[in-house]
Each structure stands twice: as structure tokens, then as C-alpha cells.
Amino acid sequence: MSIPLPLFIAVPLVMAFFLPMFGRKGKTAATVLANLVTVSLLVFAVASIGKTEVYEVGKWSIPLGINLVLDGLSSLLLLAISVVASAAMLFSARYMEQYTAKAKYLSLFLLMVAGMNGVVLSGDIFNLFVFLEIASLASYALVGFGCEHEELEASFKYMVLGTIASIFILFAVALVYGNTGTLNMAYISQAIQNSGLNAGLKFALALFIAGFGLKAALVPFHAWLPDAHPSAPAPISAMLSGILIKTLGIYALVRVVFNVFGISVSIGWLLVVLGLLSMVAGAFLAIGQWDFKRLLAYSSISQIGYVILGIGLGGLIIAKDNNLPWASLAILGGLFHLVNHAVYKSLLFLTSGSVQMSTGTRQLKQMGGLAEKLPFTRATCTIASASIVGIPPFSGFWSKLILVVAAVQAGFYWIAAIIVFVSLCTLIMYLKVQRYVFLGELPENLQQIKENRGSMLVAMVFLACLCALMGLLVLVPCLKQSILEPAVKVLTDGLEYSAIVMKM
């Protein structure tokens, strides 16, 4: 079955335009419809695995019109987006009952999903910017959804930094247009291959890295993330940490650096250093936190570091000695970690939401002994923690193992040592969560709490099963070949992207 690519954007968009018409009475219907959309997106994403397709919108051949490109990397991201989105949407069905304006919330959620799908599929640099703005604007509004003091403050901070990042990206697009005269990524790539990088394009690349780095919250640019992610409602935190920073930040950055501008040794080192800084700084900052969601947010910075480290290491190996098997292994580790992190970090945020909904607090010191009161939350949280720390059967172990092996193989022993060291810090972090949330004394005021069942539970169990099974993605050859390897190949092919797109 072949799915026309625009459906990935059109279905959530049309539903998002339609949903605000439901008032207070149609709330249930709106929730059901929104869930249907996310589930159907999941079906579409599964159906489009392993395909490579170029779709010309309005049948205008490129560079006249805009094209949508589906390749291995896009379909990997589409899959991750739709998995996290369906779980978070299911979770919101019950969780968002504590807020008003649910129909508008659902609409914003779908707009965010549509924006991310648009970013992932776009083959045109300006179009990528437009869809990035849709997803960002929806996320600014969603961070401030609760309209409390902290939420508005975090939302404003996030919005200012995010808008500056967007303007950087737009300026870079303008510079690229001024230098090459085209906006299509394949054509830009070709023009760069013909004429080489001049000062203008280098400046544009710097602006792209700064802009996408801000969106991805890599370490020098991370100031907004620890405020914005905890302030949002739990399902939105799961979306933001789980997938938004990866789509708007990492995916866009990697696409522009690898496929449009071409990787070089200096850019490879830059990515590796950014990744290492994020890993170490994020982990240290996370250990000191006493706010459950804030700890998770800092840990996201650290985990994003792993992803960009793996991809940057692969790029470095390609640029330095063009050893494709080694580079593929590093990139495989990075991308696999991206998917893993999407699943377990969103699960962790969902469990934090469940805990917060039951206890009414996010402070670790005010909790304790919740293991018997919230058995399912406890079980899923433990699975996710084991996964993020890297305990063998769970997913996180495999991606970290691949990263370590790749670093050792390429001779970067110190990088491997840092990876192992940061894993230990992560272990401390999550032992702390287990100790203060689920073990220990149950405080007096929490004797009466109950666990929230229903849709929230289903969403958490779904993600926990995925956590346990994700290891199969690298262990079973046919899954590996159909999902991960095409994505890796897109990056190792590098500049051949333009030839592939133009040929189709």
C-alpha cells in the first residue's frame, strides 16, 4: 500500500483546524478523533518503512515547486514521532481533564505533530523553516498551557530564545539563497559541490548550527530547556523532551550538515565537542536537582549529547579517513540512541505526570514510599530507568554499547571512557529517583492517594513494552536492515543525497 506523503501533514492539519469548533460538550468526541489521528499516523509511518520516495507538491518539478522527500532517516523519525505522539495523546485523554480548553489543547498538539512531520519530510529549506515555526509556536503555547507563574515565565524564556533561533535560521536561508539562487536542498547541495564553500556559505552554516543547536538545547544554548520542559503538562513534556528537540534540533542540523553542506573534519570535531559538553554538563546538573521533572529535563540534555556525539563521531570518521564501516557503527549508535531516548524519556515524563497527578507535588523530598500506592507507575518507571541507565536487556544498553564500541574501534579511547563515566552519573541520578519517590517512608499527607488508571496506564504500559523490546531493533537482522540501516546510509552517503533526489 502506498501512502501519498502529504497525508502525513494534511491529516493532522485538517483535524487541528476542525477540532476547536468543538465546544465543551464535544470534548469526548474531540479526544477520540485526535487519538484516531495519531494512531492512523502510526499506521502510515509503519506502512512507509523502507521506502524512498520523492513527492512533488502541485506536480511542479523541482526547483520550481516544493518537494517532499521520504528516505531512511525521515521514516525513522516519522516512526519515532508517531509512537511518542500516540502514547502522549492517549495519556492526555485522562491527564488533561485537570485543565480547561481541552479541544484547543488537542488542536495545538496535532499542529505540533503536523509541524514535526512537515520538518521531517520537507526537501526545501524554506519550507523546513515554515514547518519548524509551526511546531515551535505550538510548543510555546503548550508550555504556557497552565497559565501559572512558572509556566508563563518558562514559556516566555523559551519563546524568546526559540524565536531568536528561528530568525537565525531564516537569515541563514536568505544567505544561502543569495549565494546559490535556489531553495531546494538537493540543488543547494549541488551548487555547493560545484563551487565550494565560500565565506557567505560558511557564515550561513554557522548560523544554522547556532539556530538548530538552540532548538536542540546543546550545551552552550541549553538555558531554556530545564525551565520549559518541566513547566509543560506531562504529556507535552514527554513530547518536547522525547521528540521535539530531536526533530527540530538534531534532525534538521544533521540533515543540513551532512546532506546539504557536507561534513568536514572541523564540523565533525565541533559536533563531537558539543555532544561531550552536553553529556557531561547535563549529567552533573541533573544529579543536583530535587525537582522530579527538572531532573528529567537535565538528563535530556545529557542524553541529547549522546546522540549528537555518535553522529558527530561518525561524521568525523568519514571526513578524516573515510572508513565507512566504522562511521556507520558510530552513526548507528547515535540514531539508535535517538529512538531509544524518545521512548524511555517520554515514558519517564509520563510516569512523573502520573506521580504528580496523584501526589500534587514534584519535589522529590516530599515524596517517598509510593511503590505500594502506585504499583504500575513504579513498574514502568523502573523499566524506563533501567533502560536509560543501560542495564542489559533493555534498550539503552545496546545503544550505549554500540557507541562505546564505535569509539574504541576508531581509537578514541577517552571518548569511550567519558561515555562510560556519564552512564555512571546517570545511574546515580536514577537511583536517586527510585530512592526518593518509590522507596522510603510514605509521608503522612500522601496516605490517601490513588493511582490514575485508564488511558494513562495503557499509554505507560505501551511505552514500557517498547522499552523492553527495542533491543530487537539491532539484534534481529531483518528489523535492523529495514529500519535503522537505511537511516544510517542516508548520513554516510552524505552529499549523494542531491543525486538521489534529483534522479527520482
Binding site: 487541528a16 476547536p20 520550481l64 481533564e97 485537570q98 480548553a101 514547518f131 509556536l137 505550538a138 539562487g181
Partner: protein
């Protein structure tokens, strides 16, 4: 040519006043001057579509901004200015500016558009085939609503998103008490 320099200098002066003045309302008014300067500039750069849009957006944007500032107690920020931090950021920004000026030497000179040099530029096709392909005499309209209509869908969605976001942020009551679970 001189008109561009005059307008640009006017805009820069307006921007400096808007940034440095102590009174928020006058700073908003200066942004208005900046916007109308930009609108005139667009007109002289032969972009009437943009000039019209800019001028109407400017009016609306000004109303929104004035709405935000008027009848607020406009406490001026008196707190101790971090002089050192300001100097450092000015220096950093100046250095980036100097680096950036070099960048513009790589662009084609002002007044010679890139699309006249690039052989397969899309814009060549737009102006020569646009009327035939889409039937619209206004080439900009044919670009935004036919060749690149997908962008315009995105644009309409951005506006929609921000309006829904604004209604969400400005709603009266955000949280409600939840009935007992199950």
C-alpha cells in the same frame, strides 16, 4: 540609489531610539517609524505586495504592542545596570558584525539579482512561464498560491497556531478541580 541609504539610515536611527529610549510607549512608536520606513523601502525595491502587507501588518502590530504597554504602570527599569555585561555583549556583537560584513562580499552586488546569473534558477521560469502556467498576472501571487502554495498552507497554519495559542494563554481559568478518579 541614494533613497535606499537615506531610508536605511532613517531605519537604523529609529531602531537605536527604540532600543535606547527609557519610555516604553515612545519606543513602540519608534518601532512604528521603523516599520513604515521598511514599507517605503519595499515600495522602492519594487515589491508592492510586500509594501501593502507590511503597512497593514505594521498598523495591527502597533495596535497590539500599544495595547501591551498603554495603561500599564510603566516602571522603568532602574535596577543596577550590569555595565560590564553590557560592554562585553556590545563587543561580541560588534565582532560578529565585522565578521559578517566580509560575508556580504560573497553575494552578488546590490542591484544585480542572483537569479539573473544562475542558469537554472527557478525565478527565471517564474517570470517567463508564470502567466502561462498558472494564469495569474501577479507573479508573486502565482508563486505563493500555486508554485509554492504548500508554504502558504504552512503560513496560514502558523497564524492559526498562534491565534489558538493566544486564546489558550489568555483564557480566564486554566485549571479545574478534578472529580475523584474512577
Amino acid at each position: 540609489m541614494a533613497i535606499f541609504y537615506i531610508l536605511l539610515l532613517f531605519m537604523i536611527i529609529a531602531a537605536i531610539i527604540a532600543i535606547e529610549t527609557k519610555n516604553l510607549l515612545s519606543s513602540v512608536i519608534c518601532i512604528g517609524a521603523l516599520g513604515f520606513g521598511a514599507s517605503l523601502m519595499f515600495l522602492f525595491l519594487r515589491a508592492p505586495d510586500i509594501a501593502i502587507t507590511q503597512i497593514v501588518v505594521e498598523v495591527l502590530g502597533l495596535i497590539i504592542l500599544i495595547r501591551a504597554t498603554i495603561s500599564r504602570d510603566l516602571t522603568f527599569i532602574t535596577g543596577d545596570k550590569e555595565f560590564f555585561g553590557t560592554v562585553i555583549s556590545v563587543v561580541i556583537i560588534f565582532v560578529i558584525f565585522l565578521a559578517g560584513v566580509k560575508v556580504f562580499e560573497t553575494l552578488p552586488d546590490f542591484g544585480t539579482a542572483i537569479f539573473t546569473e544562475a542558469p537554472d534558477a527557478a525565478s527565471q521560469t517564474y517570470i517567463s512561464k508564470g502567466l502561462h502556467d498558472t494564469g495569474a498576472a501577479n507573479i508573486v501571487a502565482s508563486v505563493i498560491l500555486d508554485y509554492r502554495a504548500y508554504d502558504t498552507l504552512g503560513e496560514a497554519t502558523v497564524l492559526f497556531t498562534s491565534i489558538i495559542g493566544a486564546t489558550v494563554i489568555l483564557r480566564k481559568k486554566a485549571k479545574k478541580l478534578l472529580e475523584d478518579p474512577e
